[in-house]
Every structure is written in C-alpha cells, then in structure tokens.
Subunit: 567 residues, 2 copies
C-alpha cells in the first residue's frame, strides 16, 4: 500500500467548495494564505507518505502491549511520533503564546486526516493531545497553561482524555471517580477509567491526563463533575518531570483494530491533580475537548476512507480478470460502481469535515454567533458521517479486492477493522445524532434552516448552468427542510430520537450533494462535474428512504415490546 496525500483535493476544495478565502481574509488568519497552506499541506503530506504510512501494518502486527506496568509501543512508533512532533504538527492550531503555530483548524483538520489515513493508531496520540491543548487554552489557569501547554504543543508530552468508567459510558454523568482537596490547591484523584486511548507510551517523557471526577458534596449526574489535570510524572520546579504520580495502567484491551494504539484501563489511587475550569464545570471543559476530538474523529473516518479507496483503486487497476478493455477488473461495471461511489463519498465526507473546521475558524476569527451555531451543528454530522463513510468505504475496499480482501496481508481488512471503532468512540454515532436533533435544534432548528437556505440559494443560482444537478439538490433540500420542520415540532423527544440516525444521514447526503454541486460549477465538463453527477444521480436518492424513516416516529418502534423482539 502506497499512500498518496490528497493535497490537490484539499486545495481544490478549500478554494472552490468550502470558501476558504473567507478565513484567509480575517485578521486572525491573515498569514494563512492559500499559498502558505499549500506549502504546509505538501510538507505534511510528505511526512504521511514517507514516515507514517509504512508504520500502519507494523502497528497491526505488533500491538501495543503492557510489560510490568509499562506500555511498549510498536516498532517505529517512537520515531514516527517524534517526526510528527518535530514537524510542529501537534501544536499547529495552538496559541502562538505557548509555542503553537496559530494556524486555522481547517488546515489542521486536513493534516490530521492525512495522518490518520497513513497510520490511524499513531495519529490518535497527537489528535488527543490537540484536544487537550484546546481544553487547557480555554479553561486552565495561567499557571497550568504556562507549565503544560508548551510541552504539549511541542510533542514532548502527550495528552489523554479520561471520561469513561465501567458503569459510565454514554452516560458520563454516572461516573464515580473522586477528587479530594489536598489543601494546597491540588486534589487527590481516585478511581478507575476505561477505554483510555494512548493512556501511556514509551516515547514521551510525560503523559498528561485530563480526568473527570467528582468533588466532595457534588450533586449527582453531569452537573456534579469537575475536570482535573493529572500528570504521569509531577513536574519539578524547573518544569521537568519529577516523581511518579499515583496512577497506573492496569491493562490494555484486545481490540478488533487499531492494535498499535494502547487502549488502557487506568487506575488513579490518590493521584495528584489540579482543577481545570470551574468546580462542577467539568462537562463544559470536557466538551471543548470533545468537540475538537469529534471533528477529528470524523476526519479519521475520511482518512481511512481515502486510504482504503486508494488501495482499492490501485488493486482494481492491477488485478487482471475477465475480458475487459484494460484486461483488469476496473472496467467491470460493478467494480467501477464501487470505486466511483467510494470516491464520491470521500469527497462528500471531506467537504462536510472542512466546512465544519472552517466554521470553527470563522467563529474564532469573528466571534459571530452564527458561525458558532454552524460549527455546533456540523460537528455531530462531520463525526457521524465521516466515520460511517470510513466504514463503508473500507468495506467496499475489501469487496473490490475479492478473496484477497479477506486476507490480512493486503491491508484492506485492517482498514475495516481499524475503522470500526470510529462510529463508537468520542460519543457513538447514535449520541451524535441525538445531539443533532436535540441540543443542536434547541434553537427551533434556526441553524439548520440557515444552512438549508444557503443550500437552496446556491442550487437556485446553479439552475441556469447545471439544471440536471441543481434540481435534485433543490428537491432534496426541500425534503430535508420538511423533515426538519417535522422534527422540531415533536415535543416527545423519543419521536426525534427514533429518527435521529437516519435524519443525520439524510442531512449528510444533502450536504454532500451541495458541495458536489459547488465542485461541478468550478470544473465544467471536468472530472469534478462528472463525479458530482454520479453522486447526485446515484447516491443522493438515498435521502428519500431515510427521511421516510425519520417521520415514522417512535410509535411503531415502541409498539413492539422488548419480549416481542425476541420472538
């Protein structure tokens, strides 16, 4: 497998599809001109192609393991991480006051996508560190920032997020880890956390944990949770790691995929930590980190999809079979159907991801509430759609390989196994969909309707030039508007939730068509127009069946008793 960084695709999409020029036009991101970011993307692409991609299968074959309480990472991962750190890729969107590059998230998101395509297991380490950086930037005290941010941004240290406990998964509010004040401004953290990605490693001199815990007397549920920074080694006065904190990795999980990434059970036994943000304000601080990570995980899905697509495309062009013009399987209509669908979906999911990142940048740069609402609306969509497409394209990639796809040596199967975690972690896709139809539509759907207005205006303006593409987008937009109106009119939240996942998917399909249409307009008669035509003709129609499901409500679902399901 040779990974080719899709730099030209980012350049095209930033310019013609998501409107990056509005970011570069802001004062905050004035330095990040189109030329600058092209250079940065090329540099990151080189790292991914040359250094990271060769590690992907190594990590699968040599899982991270626990030896006498110490995590041992796969061969080459230490060097790979060092290359990421030294390239400045961890802190690229970080605050320059603490050593970051202050670059737009739009760019960071593209770089993260490439790194995940090249080696998902390793890329999780910088991704989670970036999430921690953002949480600390927003919520930590000046002292903590000064002490930790430079080390995190430089990649000397890595960061983790510790939410889940055995009895508290999607329901974070059920967690029981305790934080007792030590009297000196620090706290003693005690409890067990599970599913801690990169909970430890053997290549950075420290690992910093952000841990959700309860202060004494905290109320039950999510409102009684606070966030703490808990380092593996307690920094000395000179900032260097000193004595070991009272925490340890108890065990690693045996997972279906991402074998190179250690997924840890962590035990905190009165470990010293410091409050981040307000007392009982942990959820707000954690959401800063999670929203960042959710977009990042969506990008991981896009990355896996891109890598799986490339490998399948290569295989289809090499594999001789049957009587076709080229002699290879790529000329079989069904193989072509799979590959074209994969490519069209990678584009759609990437566009949603970049549009979400762009909204975050515009929010940061302008402070406008509309951009904040746009980013909030697109985050669950980018996460769920990106990760679904990651799985679907990886699945199709195996299928294109035929029997060889099921054989581990090709790597096609690994993409499928690795991708399977993406719709689960950082909030399952069900949680994302409930977030979309619940919290993100607590505004009565205002942010959704604004986006639909844009989609419809854009399609209307395209009517004259590309009516065969613009009309179906307009109709799909109207259908989605109708379903959105239906959803926000439901007072029984179960009626919203019952259709949440198909609604999110239908929304994604329509968004994908919107961005494909923009690409078609920018490339008349060219490959972008042809790809858009395929997407709009063959893939967009999926939305109709999904929206029918959305509006069927919860009644038919709950009519069937639990015991009746087992019949």
């Amino acid at each position: 497998m040779t990974y080719r960084a899709p730099v030209a695709d980012y350049e095209f999409m930033l310019r013609y599809v998501v409107g990056y020029e509005s970011v570069a036009a802001t004062e905050r991101f004035a330095d990040a001109s189109a030329e600058t970011i092209s250079a940065i993307l090329s540099e990151a692409g080189k790292l991914c192609e040359e250094v990271l991609a060769p590690l992907n299968r190594v990590g699968d074959l040599n899982p991270a393991r626990l030896e006498n309480g110490v995590v041992r990472t796969p061969p080459g991962f230490a060097e790979g991480f060092k290359a990421i750190a030294e390239g400045g890729w961890v802190g690229m969107s970080g605050d320059p006051d603490y050593g970051g590059m202050g670059l737009p998230m739009t760019l960071t998101t593209a770089v993260n996508e490439m790194m995940s395509a090249a080696c998902l297991s390793l890329q999780l380490a910088p991704l989670l560190t970036q999430g921690q950086i953002e949480a600390l930037e927003h919520h930590a005290s000046a002292a903590l920032k000064q002490q930790y941010l430079p080390k995190l941004m430089s990649g000397e240290w890595t960061g983790t997020m510790n939410l889940t406990e055995p009895q508290a998964g999607s329901d974070v509010g059920a967690l029981t880890t305790k934080a007792e004040p030590n009297g000196d401004g620090s706290y003693a953290i005690s409890g067990q956390k599970i599913f801690i990605t990169w909970g430890d490693n053997d290549f950075t001199e420290n690992v910093i944990h952000l841990v959700l815990a309860r202060l004494p007397g905290a109320v039950a549920g999510a409102k009684g949770i606070s966030l703490f920074l808990v380092p593996k080694y307690l920094p000395e006065a000179d900032g260097r790691p000193g004595r070991a904190n009272a925490l340890k990795v108890v065990s690693l999980e045996h997972k279906m995929g991402i074998h190179g990434s250690p997924t840890c059970v962590m035990h905190y036994d009165g470990a010293t930590g410091w409050l981040v943000g307000a007392e009982h304000g942990g959820m707000a601080a954690m959401f800063t980190m999670m929203n960042n990570a959710r977009l990042g995980v969506g990008g991981e899905g896009v990355g896996i999809a891109e890598a799986a697509f490339q490998q399948a495309l290569d295989y289809a062009q090499e594999r001789k079979q049957g009587k076709t013009p080229s002699g290879t399987i790529i000329d079989h209509a069904d193989v072509r159907r799979m590959l074209t669908g994969m490519r069209a979906d990678v584009f759609a999911a990437r566009a949603v991801m970049l549009a979400c990142a762009l909204a975050i940048d515009m929010q940061k740069a302008t402070g406008k509430a509309d951009w904040a609402a746009r980013a909030a609306l697109l985050t669950p969509i980018a996460k769920a759609f990106g990760t679904e497409i990651g799985n679907e394209v990886a699945y199709a990639g195996v299928q294109v390989h035929g029997g060889m796809g099921f054989i581990e040596e090709t790597g096609a199967a690994q993409f499928s196994r690795d991708a399977r975690v993406l719709p689960i972690y950082e909030g399952t896709n069900g949680i994302q969909a409930m977030d979309l139809v619940g919290r993100k539509m607590a505004d009565g759907g205002a942010a959704a309707f604004r986006l639909l207005d844009e989609i419809e205006r854009h399609a209307e303006s395209a009517r004259a030039r590309l009516s065969d593409l613009a009309e179906p987008v307009l109709q799909a937009g109207e259908a989605l508007r109708g379903a959105t109106e239906w959803l926000v009119a439901q007072n029984n939240m179960n009626d919203r939730f019952a259709g949440a996942v198909p609604y999110l998917r239908a929304f994604s399909r329509v968004l994908g068509a919107h961005y494909h249409l923009a690409a078609a307009l920018a490339d008349p008669g060219g490959p972008r127009e042809k790809l858009a035509r395929y997407y709009i003709t063959a893939l967009l129609p999926e939305h109709a069946g999904l929206l029918a499901q959305v509006q069927s409500g919860a009644e038919a679902l709950f009519a069937l008793g639990t015991d009746e399901l087992a019949v």
Copy 2:
C-alpha cells in the same frame, strides 16, 4: 454468548410465510410433515446450542494451523464435527439410496443456518460436503457414487470444492490446472488451487476434493473445463482409505475472520482423479455444487445475523446506562431502532432463504420448470441479501455494544469479522447481482415478473385487512416491476450490470416486505404484525433510492475516466 435456536421462527415461517404445506403435500416429501420437521429442528437446535456454540470463540482464538504439512484444527472441533456427522446432519437431504435422509432442502437450510449461527468456521465443513454430495448425485458415475456418497453423507469423509487459482477468481474460465488421462480411466491432476475451505482436517479419515481442470486439447475459457474427484487418500478395494494421493496443503491464509476454518493453498502434483460428468462439462457440474453452496452461504449470513442479534438484544437488556424505564439501554430509542431493524431484517433474509429452498424442493418433487426458474432466480438474491444482512446486523450488533463491541472478548466483533467473507466467497455479491440481471433474466424477466405478479396479488388480497401495510408493498412492487422492465430492455449489458447490485438489494427489500406482510396477516395485532409494520414503514422505503440508482445506467459511471477517479 448463549445461542438460542430460533425453532419457533422457522415453524411460523414455514407454515404462514413460505407455504411449506405444498412441499409436505408432494409424494417425494410426504414423510416430512410439519410435526416431523419440528422434531428434527428441535434436535438440530439442541446440538447447535449445546455442542457447537461453545466452539465459536475457541476457533477464533485458536486458528487452524499447518504443522509439517498437516492441518491442526481448533480444540473441540473434532468432537463438534463428529456430533454433526453422528446426528446425520451432513446427509440430511442426501439420496436415501446412499445413506441420506432424503429430507427437503427447506429443512436442511434451516439446520445449516443454525449451525452457522453457532459456529460458522466449523459449519463450513458439512456445508461444503453437502454441496459435493449434490454434485456427485447429479453428475458422477454409479461407481463413484457407490464409492463416495455413503462416506460423505455419514460424515466419515468431508468434501471440498477447488475452483480458484491465483489468476482465476471470479473468472473461473481462466484456470490452468491440467488433467492428463492415465489410460486406466483415471487422470493425473496437476496445478495449484487457492482459497480452498477446509482443504484438510485432522478429524475425518479422508478428504475428497472436487477439482476443476483442463483436459488436453480443451478449448480456452469456461467451455474447456472438466470436473474431477480427487481424494486425499486413494480408496482401497474394500473402500477404506489407502495410500496418500499426490496432493498437499502448501499453506493456510491469515484471514480477517473464520479463523477456525483452514483456508488452504492446495498443490496437485499429478494426483489421481476421476472425471465427474462429461468431458468439458465441468462448469455445469460445478454449478450444481455452487448453487447449493450459494444458498448455504446466504443462510450463513442469516445465521450470523441471528446470533449477532441475539447477543445484542441480551446486552441491551443487561447494560445499565442512562435514565430509562428499565434502567437499561434497550429503552433508548436509537438502541431500539437498531434492534428492531436487526430483527426485521433477520426475518426478511430468512424468508428469502426459505423461499429459495422451498422452490428447490418443489422443483425436485414436481419437476416443473416454473419452480426451477424460481429457484434459479432466488438463489443469487438469497446469497447476496443474506450475506449483506449478516454483515449489517453484525455491524449493528457491535454498535449496540458501544465500546465493548470493539473489544474482542464480547464476541460481537468476531461476528463482524467472520461475516465479512460471506459477500465474497461462492461468487462475490457483485457476481450474484450480475447473475440475477444477466443469466436469470435471459428469459426476458419472465421468472421475475411471475414473482412480482404473486407479490402484487398477495398485497391486493391483503388490502381489505391491512391496507396501511398492503399499499406500500403494492407500490414498491410496481416500482420494482418498472425497474425490471427497464433492465430487460437494455441491450448494452453494462447498463444492466451498472445497476445490478442496487437492483438485487431493492428486489430483496420488496421480497422482505412481501413476506413480512404474510406474517402480519397470520398474526393480527401480534408481534409479527408490529414487526412487519416497522419493516414496511422504516426499511422498505430504501428501495426507492436504490431503484433510482439502477436506472441511472452505465453512462454516468463510465463518463469518469480511470485516471479521473484518482483526482
């Protein structure tokens, strides 16, 4: 994981959904009354629950391996196979003249489904043996039948099918294995075969290979292929295995799943074999075996889906999380949506499978061409739909488990990994779909239209009682009819092939609705009606988007050049 054999579901479906009474009414299957088959299903179910299901994870953790040229199977597999053999389950549909039980395929198909649900890796051994039995019954000489069939039906020996070569996968006609006459009626077989499931084992005294090869002077392509029976050990005059034949297992594949099943690279070095069927008539003989195996593989998909559904249902009823009436996740609307969809799809895929098996039985019992055409039409649908549902339900099963689904210990991930081979082997699902829109519609769609007539007549007759369910089925049937008319009118086969996979899926969706409607009619106000309502409301609408894709043709697909895909 505790597997519960769904005997009650088979009983209901045989009686009310697929009309088993017509099989029992034939002279040939007069002994297989509803009472008899209930007893047999219960007996098979017990074997699956008690003996086979405990082996499933053992096989995953202890893959079959090759030691000094000998295949070593996972612990317990030998005893498991022996129990299958001693129960008579290998030869249950075999000719009683050779030791079979002569039972209907409808019944065998249900039993095979249960065995695959319990332990897919092991079930492949009897499944392939059954396919070989059927091929020999139809095509072998009386002497070969006498010599081999009793041993195969009793499970003393197992059978394999050897089609694929490195350069000849979906294009079987490209194979190069040679067969030279030895002058004594036997042939010397030389060549390499890959992906040979259960190519060897350490628990039967012989393994019989059916091998596709070319006779000297055979024409190129599929028309120059003949079929040979090649035993691992050459039988002595008394029928017992004698000296070793000139064949060996070269290596085993490292696969994504079905670790317990040895997937062999076989080398034949002048091995002694005997012709089965006519010279150059190998493809016809092989198709007998393959059609049997295709339905069987579809049933494997249903089996995995059932097992994954049961496990997810159990987990959802045990896992406490969030504030719901039961305190468990099953009352979350999105979890309920997943489980209800899984159950509804298991039903639909099982109904298609049983309907296909029933058509085979009716063909055998009546010799009528209409039944043969029905069986031929339904075989690719049963294979592709069953295996897709197997993957989709296993995927959803992982999702219901949340983070635990990605951890191997739960077994949810294993279902997904095991199921992934099903849409690939015995002809990829793309091949099935091309078979459906090509060969199976070479009659101008007559068999398809006859089935659509039945679906529409049935829905019309249901209008009075269940109009809210009958109407959507009628409309979907009409839409499918329109797409079928469009398909058979295409002279350019690529226009058919470009839409073949979505067409097959849409056909499956409509068939599923037809059978759900039948179930609803038989259970007014009961769980079957409620499940049917969910399927028809929420899942059937998928067909519309698929049929739009079907009728988009090959042009949009091939408009995009191979090089343009890589942009």
